[in-house]
Subunit: 258 residues, 2 copies
Amino acid sequence: MTRILAVANQKGGVGKTTTAINLAACLAELHKRVLLLDLDPQANATSGLGFERIPGGSLYEVLLGEKNLGDQIKPTAVPRLDLVPSETDLCGAEIEVARLDRPLYRLRDALRPLADENRYHFILTDCPPSLGLLTMNALAAAHALFIPLQCEYYALEGLSTLDRVLADIRQNGINPTLEIAGIVMTMFDGRTNLAQQVVAEVRRHFGERVFETVIPRSVRLSEAPGFGQPIILFDPQGSGAQTYRALARELLKKERAR
Amino acid sequence: MTRILAVANQKGGVGKTTTAINLAACLAELHKRVLLLDLDPQANATSGLGFERIPGGSLYEVLLGEKNLGDQIKPTAVPRLDLVPSETDLCGAEIEVARLDRPLYRLRDALRPLADENRYHFILTDCPPSLGLLTMNALAAAHALFIPLQCEYYALEGLSTLDRVLADIRQNGINPTLEIAGIVMTMFDGRTNLAQQVVAEVRRHFGERVFETVIPRSVRLSEAPGFGQPIILFDPQGSGAQTYRALARELLKKERAR
Ligand SMILES: Nc1ncnc2c1ncn2[C@@H]1O[C@H](COP(=O)(O)OP(=O)(O)OP(=O)(O)O)[C@@H](O)[C@H]1O
Ligand SMILES: Nc1ncnc2c1ncn2[C@@H]1O[C@H](COP(=O)(O)OP(=O)(O)OP(=O)(O)O)[C@@H](O)[C@H]1O
Ligand SMILES: [Mg+2]
Ligand SMILES: [Mg+2]
């Protein structure tokens, strides 16, 4: 059964793309077949995996119902990891999709054949920093929401908004079974009180839903995208690769226990 | 003559809010009268200055033409600095404004009486991390675009998109005289090669338009919002306050030389 995860948080710069790329790569390393969807017009997951934006190659025409999702899939440098890249046109998707029939379910409908084929163990969606129609499509299509959270005050503040939106999506029937796959703390700098306070606060409110694995601030993680590589190729033995591997193992454990 | 600056960058987490709050406070400290508009539904500039979200207190009804901007203005703890706070409803503004007449000029029209009164030397707009209708309203209303840029690869990548959008706004007549007030490098960590490379690259491409002042990574800057204070009140003698003061002085110098 293909498990669809939306990597989302409306707060900007919290590590969504870094987590989507590196979690996907580490799951592939653990012999899972993974598809990463770049749903952000910024196309960071696309360049972070070494791809250029390809006009006509994104989810844009898929959301408009003019192309099949399967035709947009590209293999990456990581075995068992495929990507649907983004493109600039995706910027216009929100306004165009709003005018169509079933605007919230365009991605869900497009993913259905792929999910039924069980071609992938996981499909991950990298979302833009907003709660607009692109992110809402990802939340409507997903089984669970994977929340990267920076160890900072503004990120903590945004979590209550995200929690409310999630409850709303369940209650108003957009996606009644949408769960939280987990919250992963990112860019943790143990030397600052602020980071420790934020982690303690999040664990107090969200308990089990917070991954044990905490991603440290590591300059290698921010250098890797410049070389178009996930961290397991760019710096395979470093702390970034080790902690994202631990995160992937912890996710698989949680999924088995479901 | 009131100078209107949009603090914008579609890349998330680059320091837009931190720069909008602290530059505004430092300009007020230099005896300029400043109004800060929180145009981001996340309302970070609102909480960063110690305010709660106030239902009905934001730019939401102003953009819909149902309220005057002047009625939403609140004084802050900093003399000569006023704020128009954000609220959750602002989330829905983009879809609603899209249906109205002159969707791109709602903010510009609302600001005109205030700008004509010359009540403020500067009006700064904190924008959300996207190029949707809220940010476009800010760009259509502004005299100049103030771009905070994190010293990271993805942020650098996003700059070319922003530059293209700016050229587009000028050429297609939305705002033919929109300039770049400047690019300020943020969260600079001199110990990493990446930060130095990004700064060098940006200076090479954008030359004079990049401020000399570089904002260092400083934990005090990320702690201040938790206390609802700008850095000049939270840690007045620290590196964060000193560099934002230098940025304010450099901006005033550039403005005088215009
Ligand atoms: N653990 C980490 N250590 C150091 N740098 C990191 C880490 N995680 C992410 N970064 C860097 O921080 C910046 C923000 O991360 P990223 O772009 O992944 O966030 P995002 O949530 O996807 O941003 P956006 O909201 O714009 O989509 C990037 O420049 C990235 O390289
Ligand atoms: N110079 C700095 N040193 C350390 N931390 C900083 C600095 N500038 C900003 N921060 C912190 O980095 C995070 C991102 O900054 P901020 O929220 O201002 O960016 P933004 O561009 O407004 O984000 P968004 O795209 O979500 O609106 C915040 O938690 C902030 O406190
Ligand atoms: Mg991203
Ligand atoms: Mg902000």
